[in-house]
Chain length 100, copies 2
């Protein structure tokens, strides 16, 4: 199993904006080959931001990479954005292979 | 759903030691109330370390927290440790609630 997590640092007070964007977007993931599941995760907060992570699971890294080059990926990322000031820096992608 | 991830920065060249500790340990997780799954994830490497994360899923934060105060938790964490020099700093726990 392969997991792709995109980490988002969301400025305090902007959490609802960020969640609404995800709540209302069409992920275009249904039926993507090798895609097995998606969750939006809310993590800890500090004095500046709340950490969120998108958490998608795939049969393999190859399936994930094929999706990132697909029309479905472009459509999923062409939608609405949250208000200015929501993001503290760029999202950070981390990918993992389940080894045990 | 609740996810607990413990992030480990493992010095380059120590990856096998670290994986062996996990491969050989008894997690004592089977039958723990509210526990739903465990994976050991291997993430990206940089010039200094390889990122790993333990990834356990739970029915709720309360179930996870009860486990951390249980005998099963103490037993799971009393086993062998990898060689000195394996860890770059302390593991960092991050916990998440699945909201979507």
């Amino acid at each position: 199993m392969f997991i792709a997590m995109n980490r988002f640092e969301i400025a305090l007070g902007h959490e609802k904006d960020f969640e609404d964007v995800w709540r209302n977007r069409d992920s275009h993931l249904d039926g993507v080959p090798g895609f097995t599941g998606f969750k939006l995760l809310k993590g800890p907060s500090n004095d500046e931001f709340t950490l969120y992570a998108s958490h998608s699971t795939w049969e393999s890294r190859a399936a994930f990479e094929a999706w990132t080059e697909s029309d479905a990926f472009r459509m999923a990322h062409s939608g609405a954005n949250p208000r200015k000031g929501t993001y503290m820096g760029h999202p950070k992608l981390e990918t993992f292979e389940a080894i045990l």
